[in-house]
Symmetry: C3
Subunit: 242 residues, 3 copies
């Protein structure tokens, strides 16, 4: 059912698609079966939504990255966004171009995911989470509210990242900094890791499998697998396998 | 005055109600006297707005919680939302089902309040604050920008929670965690408490009346009334009654 | 090109202006040449947009501050907003009355900028950043995601403020606090300063030119120019001129 005030310019609609009031769907968009598009959503060209996807009011899918003269880096992207079956996009969330999101994943209210990101199946990217460009997130990984995922980072499967976690991908900041692609690398977080509330992760660190970073820790160097680290800077507390 | 492009399906309108362009008000909604609904707002069925309530552009009131297969917990809710007189809902804020908000309260831009929450009178829930399910907040309590209020927590009257505060309700996280309702309990924050900027509160702690948690503290155990605590982990600094 | 569903009440339009579906532009608004207004944007009276400005879906420009009975301070503002050439306003961003933004600046998705703020040229105010009233930000300054800029603060040129930084302007909080304008003063951050991830800045501190505040530091007193400080509370680590 396409509401009479919805503006739908694609013909590639599955069965039982619902597009509600004042929503906009451009041409070259594919909507799978049973997709629900709530009011005031905008879906730009190049977006493919799987079956049973629900997009809540005010979400914007398909934003082109834009620098406005102030950014150090020229954005790279394809005009293609793929969102898997049963995935839900929260109200006022923003999904940029060149993003792939798997099946059964939940994108929270006001979350924003930049270009060239890949997010797996059964993930939660919760409310007001911002994900920077070219981040890769595995399956069954949860990123809680108000956390920032930096660009050029790799996060494994079954990872739990708590609320208010921050991370970076570049130590080369400040007035004399010049953008250098080779120097930009976020943390690498292996499978089954837990990052506690409000933790801070510095660039390029490797956090091994099953490691646990305590709440409020500032992680400045690599963390061994199956270890608990805590404090500022984060230090080894104990082994978790015993 | 209902703008001709507004879609209003309820008849339960007070006097002097204004519904602006492209706003949507479903059936079974009550709007009190002098309510102002700005453009692109969506109000779902079950919402009751008191007199003089103002809802700013892009706000979404009455969202049903949805799991998308990735959440550990099945949401519980009634399709009823009550918002008191003189309360203001900021642009792009999201209010879920089964939420009660008192009179003279301000909900900030982009804030998001999950199901089963109760918020008192004369409160401020500021910009980009996220409140998880089943949180209870008293009267005259202020929660500043970019703070996360966890689920199953109880916050008293006249509490001040500063910017960038984070808290949790569960130590049972990670790949082997199973959801257990009995283990989920956020902090309990008594009347007249102050929580400083960027503080972190762990699950189940009790913060006594008039206590003051310093900026950046990580609170790992109960805080006595009228005491100042600081540091990581937070330790007693001095008594505030003297 | 004004879409037939856009509601445009001003005649002050430059050449090649595009206003897309369901956007609203009130009277007494000036749109420069080549301005693009995306769907579901609301621009209130008093807004002046320079040439080549792009406003993304769901942004709201010209919000009047509103207290709802719960705020300590009566907002002061003029109904005038000036946004310079080539500046970009992200999806769901909110710009209050009495704000000036320079040329070539980028305002991120979901950012919110309160009344009486001034932001310079070639700045980035990134995603979900909240800026409080009467903040002054210089040129070429970058404020990364999920950071809060407090009210009554002054930030210089070429400053880099990382993700998840929080700051305050008032130590006089809590139930017995009375609002006193003279006591409210945020940090003053001089040119070329770097503030690391998740740092916390207390009221009234002065951070000298070229200083570097380490990730996770809690800054409780003034920082000398060209020094690195770190820790809780932040302490001198070394001089950066050597």
């Amino acid at each position: 059912m396409i509401h009479k005030t919805a503006i739908v310019n694609t013909k590639q609609l599955g069965s039982n698609v619902v597009v509600k009031e004042y929503a906009i769907v451009r041409d070259d968009v594919v909507l799978g079966d049973n997709v629900i598009i709530h009011p005031h959503v905008v879906i730009e060209s190049g977006v493919r939504l799987g079956d049973n996807v629900e997009v809540f009011p005010g979400a914007y899918i398909g934003k082109e990255p834009k620098g406005a003269g102030a950014t150090a880096r020229t954005p790279i992207f394809n005009k293609k966004i793929v969102i898997g079956n049963n995935t839900s996009i929260g109200p006022n969330a923003v999904i940029y171009c060149d993003v792939t999101i798997g099946n059964n994943t939940l994108i929270g209210d006001g979350a924003s995911i930049r270009e060239q990101c890949s997010i797996g199946n059964y993930c939660i990217i919760s409310r007001c989470v911002t994900v920077n460009y070219n981040a890769t997130i595995g399956n069954k990984t949860k990123v809680m509210d108000l956390t920032h995922i930096t660009g050029n980072c790799i996060i494994g499967d079954d990872v739990f990242i708590s609320v208010g976690v921050n991370m970076a991908n570049d130590n080369n900041v400040g007035p004399s900094a010049t953008y250098s692609k080779d120097k930009i690398k976020g943390p690498e977080i292996k499978d089954d890791v837990v990052i506690g509330i409000g933790a801070i992760l510095l660039p390029k660190i490797l956090i091994g499998e099953r490691a646990f970073v305590a709440a409020g820790a500032v992680v400045t160097k690599d963390v061994e697998p199956s270890t608990l680290v805590a404090g500022i800077p984060a230090k080894f507390v104990r082994n978790l396998d015993n």
